[in-house]
Symmetry: C2
Subunit: 215 residues, 2 copies
DNA sequence: GTGATCTGGCACCGTTCAGTGTCAGTTTGT
DNA sequence: ACAAACTGACACTGAACGGTGCCAGATCAC
């Protein structure tokens, strides 16, 4: 997708080579997309609005993206990558103890969501029902979050007692539980304190983990 | 919304009074909307497409609805009402035993979703990210499903040990878990048998219920 | 300084679609 | 039979938007 002007033969401009300039513009467009999609929504967004937010004009949009769906995919990837990194870092902060890792991951997740409401909007709302392409991306990302859950809880699971597909479905359910709690949380008009929702999510996770573990 | 021609003074036509004719047309439009939104999606749907599917013309669309968002809300309500009824009926089939009620509700839910893929599409995908109006409807419907869960599991919960907001959040998580499992299930290219996903969902529910109950 | 290159702003075209109006033909009440 | 009401089909308008092209001015290489 896009035509990154295969020739690296261009001049420098404002102290940057052509490739670098092009990538900067692309990054600005993605940032603008996160802003626009995350506040006004994808459906009401137009190419012009995005470009105006980015401080660019339409020609630079088509320099980096085929259409607005391609930009949505890029913005989606940007948001979910950051979110997944944050969650995995939170889990790692928990050290070796499983419960601490779960708690760390949950805390990081709800913090990210609370700090930047555009994240849940793009990651969980705007991205659904656009088209087959985007639906596939959504499925892949959800799978990657399920994988992350499996990595975190993996060591504590009695794998001989639970076949892999069953385990995957369980992890999918756990992701859905946390997601739905977060969604209702950010949408509610007077939300509970973050510690409370973390505790509720933790209750569900540890209940299921208790079922899975050999202990 | 809409102008249901307040005067009941019209003639009869093809054996039906004006009010009845109008309601029949409205019902046909809602059915057509479920078909179109549920297969091609809301975003690519146009008023003309809906009307063609319903076998009506645009003038009858604006007779019953202000715009396509109003129709989406009606289709959404139609779909979710049926789904909720089906789940509650499934739970009632379980009789007095809590576990049987949960199993019955889950079975009814996954059956509905499997029988008519338009249901999950409209209920969980198309409806997100449209606008504030629709988002509110989504929140209300989700709340009503959470309420249904609370009704089903209510008797088995030690309410003194778990404050109400916490309980609500837990139920929200459970709804999210089941929803996400269903979503991934219908989207996967070679899905597991329905008994398997029901069993996985049941594992999560009973694990959390075990945490809540006084037993 | 001078010409080539790059940038941003704008104008333009074609399409799509919501929403309204018109009208000929059909059904009903009398 | 005849007029009033109803229906369905189509034409029309205006706005929004995607996508492309052009041009004046800024920036760089030499």
């Amino acid at each position: 997708m896009s035509s990154p002007s295969l020739d690296e033969t261009g001049r420098t401009y404002r102290g940057a080579g052509p490739r670098q300039r092009q990538e900067e513009r692309r990054a600005r467009l993605v940032d603008a997309a996160v802003e626009v999609f995350g506040t006004s929504g994808y459906r009401s967004a137009t190419v012009e609005k995005i470009c105006a937010t980015a401080g660019l004009t339409k020609r630079y949009f088509y320099e980096s993206f085929d259409d607005s769906e391609a930009l949505l995919l890029a913005a989606y990837a940007s948001v979910t990558d950051r979110l997944r990194d944050s969650v995995l870092r939170g889990a790692a902060d928990g050290g070796a103890d499983l419960d601490a890792r779960v708690r760390g991951a949950l805390t990081a997740f709800f913090r990210s969501v609370a700090d930047d409401p555009r994240i849940p909007r793009i990651a969980f709302q705007e991205v659904l029902g656009i088209g087959p392409e985007v639906d596939n991306a959504y499925r892949r990302v959800t799978r990657s979050f399920v994988d992350a859950v499996l990595v975190v809880i993996g060591p504590a699971v009695d794998r001989t007692a639970f076949p892999d597909p069953h385990l995957r479905t369980l992890a999918t359910g756990l992701v859905g539980a946390v997601l739905m709690i977060a969604q209702q949380w950010v949408l509610s008009e007077n939300p509970q304190p973050i510690e409370t929702v973390i505790a509720s999510a933790h209750t569900i996770l540890s209940a299921v983990l208790g079922e899975l573990g050999p202990t």
